[in-house]
Amino acid sequence: MYSLHKIYGGDLKNQGSESFRFTIKDFKKVCGAFCSGGVNLSLAFDNGKKVLLHGFEFSKKPDCPPNKRPLFFKEPIEMEYISGVANGTMGKESSVYLILE
């Protein structure tokens, strides 16, 4: 079964770019990620050693089924913490979510 976790929520104050870090507890696999439309997302796992996304742009896709919109990782990853950067319109309320299993 899946669980949804918000790992960033804010209004992209720093000229539209904010970094964040998130420690996973009680979960060992990350199955996917998604975020607000118009945000470019970078994500690094394994204490910053493994970059999985680099400036990936998520867009709003209302013609796509909601369950198909997240970016799914082929290989679930075990990790200690993940870090990331969200880029977008400064002042726009934005969020980043991970799907954990």
Binding site: M1, Y2, S3, L4, H5, K6, G9, G32, F34, S36, G37, K60, P62, D63, C64, P65, P66, N67, K68, R69, P70, E93, S95, Y97, I99
Partner: protein, 133 residues
Amino acid sequence: MTELSKTAFIIQCFDKEIVNNKVHELKEELDKDYKYLVGIAISNSNAGANSILEQVKVKGADVLPEKFEAAHVMSTGAVAPNKRFFSWFKPVPVSGDEMLIRFSDPDWSANYNLQVQVLLTNNLEEIVNVLFA
């Protein structure tokens, strides 16, 4: 593959007239004949693209993270009806429990009827196969 017609499920609808850009509360008891809440959807024909699900709770516990963008659970008529649900959360065991939804639409400009649909089932394995197929 599981056929939808053989799956025991129900779609329960919550309706509320949205009359301003403030937070509106939808509260209703879930159908007591179903054991799990597995999906949530909003028709995007009325609600603004920047609408927010401030809270979605059952028995006081969060189903979705707070301030969840409603766009994540909205889809157009181009999406098949059985694929319009967002299900990337842990299935919630229910038993006629009360569900609370707090919704706001910052771009509200005229009154409209909001309909939130929730998907309930007794057969978790089967419905999950349908939702993620």
